[in-house]
Symmetry: C2
Subunit: 148 residues, 2 copies
DNA sequence: GATAAAGTTTACGTAAACGTAAAGTGGTTT
DNA sequence: AAACCACTTTACGTTTACGTAAACTTTATC
């Protein structure tokens, strides 16, 4: 049960909601290496995984070049050369630092969004109060409201 | 104690490690609005905060246009219009969803990096073992090694 | 008052990541 | 066989986010 399927370019395009143009571009840049039947591309499950990684990388702010570097490095790493292995470990460390930074950024952003939301709700509540007052004491002029 | 300082373009440039070109560009795009003394820019603490937000936004994968949209919206929100307030709350919700996605992406990436690192270390251990064997049984040919 | 240091505008250049025709290939459905 | 579909290549266009000179003021320093 090894899921030995293959995929057409439009299948992947639909599944991941990217244009075929993008997929071809990723191949052009060396990030995907589909087989060919004639001139038609045939994507393996490995290609599919890589596409998923590419897109996630993008969401995380990686450039295609960075992602490609990781792919290439990982391929080289599999050959078992010691220098490559050590370099891979280094790069993994660097990425972890980057992820830590991103996590901090996200936490910060969440806090600020909390206070922003709170202020919005306060302001809305204020407006509701004003409305009620207007309901009770109608026809207050705009200028008078503004002066509060 | 309101920290009422101002900043020159190069001060900010150095503090946040961005080029003056970038800072001028951000102004050009309407993200910063420094005062002027003659034609020289004078940045307030508010500008400084915004610059920080711009850079964090970039690290989080936001475009300048998106960040500007948030700035503008927040400014409008402060005027207290109800429609603006509700729109702001909507956008905040959307951003939260985006942050959740990013957190998932990061968690996934961390897991994969864990297994990648483990494999690297295994491979390295294997190499060390091979080296020892070579030390004990020297002059093994490359072909023989490859056949294992 | 010359000269350097830091600031400015204007404007063309560039890399990344595709978009968008245009024109052709290969299979299959009617 | 005509028409249609999915796929292809080639190639120029576009947006974003600056880089990089060039030529010019303004301010500080010797």
């Amino acid at each position: 049960m090894v899921e030995k399927r293959t995929f057409s370019i439009s299948e992947l395009s639909q599944e991941f909601d990217v244009t075929t143009r993008s997929i071809r571009f990723y191949e052009d840049q060396g990030l995907l290496k589909p087989r060919r039947r004639g001139q038609t591309r045939i994507f393996s499950t490995k290609d599919r995984v890589r596409l998923k990684l590419i897109l996630r990388g993008k969401r995380m702010g990686f450039t295609l070049a960075e992602t490609k570097e990781l792919f290439d490095l990982w391929d080289e790493t599999l050959t078992g050369n010691e220098k490559q292995l050590l370099k891979m470990l280094e790069i993994l460390e660097a990425r972890r630092a980057q992820l830590e930074q991103q996590k901090n950024d996200i936490a910060q952003a969440e806090m600020e969004m909390d206070t922003a939301e709170a202020r919005c709700r306060e302001a809305l509540a204020e407006l509701q109060k004003k409305k009620k007052e207007q309901g009770l004491v109608p026809k207050e002029t705009e200028e008078a409201v503004a002066q509060k």
